[in-house]
């Protein structure tokens, strides 16, 4: 059995605890948390500690705290030369204190407190300083997911930025669609099949080939009608800029 200690009790930490609970090769032997109440429904409370000096010996320490706290937490660990990883998409491997062996274990997904996720489909991006540590990380990742990737620091940074576009920004466009529906007394439900199909389409078509709509057709009449319709200035500004961006891109073909 591979022994893991998880440091942190936020969204990602909680989903990891649940995912490892189903694995036969992994045991979460301890969780560090100052907020015991957030996780005592997920793990035996005797396994929870709030004292860095009390951390058990393990094969792997997963620091899953806010980006800003990773460096500080890693320097507070009271041991040396063990394998310590963080779970962040945007923090460099070298932010971890160098008294331990460093690595990254980044599950690229959006986690919500109230929504279960199927961890087996989540890509896990792995990085380490040496090959034997990488093998351990890969074994741990493969015990909970079918999709593991060797990703270096620069690639991980690029994935994190790309993820902001395809997740955070996309969700904001859903929000604007919802706002327009509310303002015009139409149910947002009417748009949901379109939202799903738009996502499903790029599983098999490249987004460039999947592009449709007035911008790529350069249908000036429709674009003007839409801009007339959008009295909300913020919505109109986004409409213009995204239309221009689609058209610029079309020309690069």
């Amino acid at each position: 059995m591979i022994k893991i200690v998880i440091i942190g009790s936020g969204n990602v930490a909680q989903h990891l605890i649940m995912a490892f609970a189903k694995s036969k090769e992994i045991v979460v032997s301890q969780v560090f948390s100052r907020r015991k109440e957030t996780i005592n429904h997920l793990i035996d409370s005797k396994k929870i500690t709030a004292d860095f000096n009390d951390l058990a010996e393990a094969d792997l320490y997963i620091i899953s705290v806010s980006d800003d706290a990773i460096s500080e937490v890693s320097s507070q660990l009271a041991f040396e030369n063990r394998l310590v990883v963080h779970t962040s998409g945007s923090v460099a491997i070298d932010s971890l204190d160098s008294k331990n062996r460093k690595g990254v274990f980044y599950p690229l997904q959006t986690f919500s407190k109230n929504k279960a996720v199927d961890f087996s489909t989540i890509p896990i991006c792995l990085e380490s300083e040496n090959e034997s540590d990488y093998e351990l990380l890969e074994k741990v990742a493969q015990s909970i997911s079918k999709n593991t990737y060797k990703i270096n620091g620069d690639q991980r940074k690029s994935l994190h930025v790309a993820a902001v576009f395809v997740n955070n920004f996309v969700n904001h466009l859903y929000h604007i669609g919802n706002e327009i529906c509310i303002e015009n007394k139409v149910s947002f439900d009417v748009l949901k099949p379109l939202i799903l199909e738009t996502a499903n389409k790029v599983l098999s078509l490249s987004p460039k080939d999947a592009q449709t709509g007035p911008a790529i057709r350069n249908d000036k009449h429709t674009i003007e009608a839409h801009l007339d319709f959008l009295t909300n200035e913020n919505q109109a500004t986004l409409y213009k800029l995204l239309t221009q961006s689609i058209q610029k891109n079309g020309k690069e073909l």
Copy 2:
């Protein structure tokens, strides 16, 4: 049996021909097309005509041509007082020639030539001038879809604008994500589970509640790191504007 004549042979017309072929209450008795070769794999070629004077008598005429051509096509019909509808999200019902009874039959979905769609889940937005025509349109729509909606002209216009945001613009953000992956030699596949989960999330959560990421957290450190990373000016401009838009919106809470 309800007899339908479809005028046009583009993407939407083709998908309608296929959907009605499975319906037991509807028969497509004729299709008008000047490009016979685009549809003769879908329907008996004897049912295809390219002559407006040759159009058969039917309960419903569906004009499914480009937005700009709808008005002109409707005025070329050589009969009067029959039910004639178009399939556009952005064209007013009154663009149809008033010698016939007018209506709208707008399937809100993105149609690609090479990708089959399950019509049963596609919302169909209906509008007509009188109640008995509406009942017929509803019967026709329900024979191919579970989701039919009574939507007036203004509501349809708003749905069309909202659809540009949640479909065309969202797809463009997928494209930018893909570009970033290509530039940094990472597979776009890594992002696909995230894309699907982001879409699935808003089926049960409102987009406002589903919003995550550096913008809504006002995580200035990460936002600056991302802007440093984005050397492509167009990508950086979109990143800034979408970040500002998310933050403005958060404040309205």
